[in-house]
Symmetry: C2
Subunit: 120 residues, 2 copies
Amino acid sequence: MTVPTPTAVHAYIEAWNATGAARRAAIETATTADVRYVDPLADVTGTDALDQLIGGVQQQFPGMQLALVGEIDAHHDVCRFQWGLGPAGQEPIVIGFDVAAIAADGRISTVHGFLDKVPG
Amino acid sequence: MTVPTPTAVHAYIEAWNATGAARRAAIETATTADVRYVDPLADVTGTDALDQLIGGVQQQFPGMQLALVGEIDAHHDVCRFQWGLGPAGQEPIVIGFDVAAIAADGRISTVHGFLDKVPG
């Protein structure tokens, strides 16, 4: 079964807001086992490493939620989307931008992340 | 020798404005032999295919120049940049956005392209 790109991206966003087994399940829904995630501050490969990275970010920004900003722009096997991290329902304090490559099964195989806004 | 990322990106932009042997040379400076280029309208792999794609776009937009818009934002082995295509020195009629992955030798191995502005 192939996961549609929006499903994979939404599960990916969900992973950033979940903890424990729910986070792990969302990562596995969203990404391949050998997923590579790279942004200006991190470069990790594989489900375990991504799970640990997200856990670390959650500890660094307690109570914050990650949410999509705007639409997912997808074509072929790639997509881009912007996200915001902040207190739920409030102005995000961090805004980032990801380009994701999609594997044959529809899950995300690579995330190339960039930061558009960081705390001053 | 490793090509610095800005050098690779500038050679890549140059390739879009060059023709014949100069275009080929710029592509070879900028990208790996197995480079993959994908945007909403094209999906090609390899030096020959990229050369042909650029030639086709040049025929479609005669007299236009491609130029960087803003800065190159690079970290680890990835970078992003915006570009404009239009008559030299004038407002671009097409604005696009690329994320490039950089190979070990510094050349671009993958371009994930998106369109930010297209002719209405």
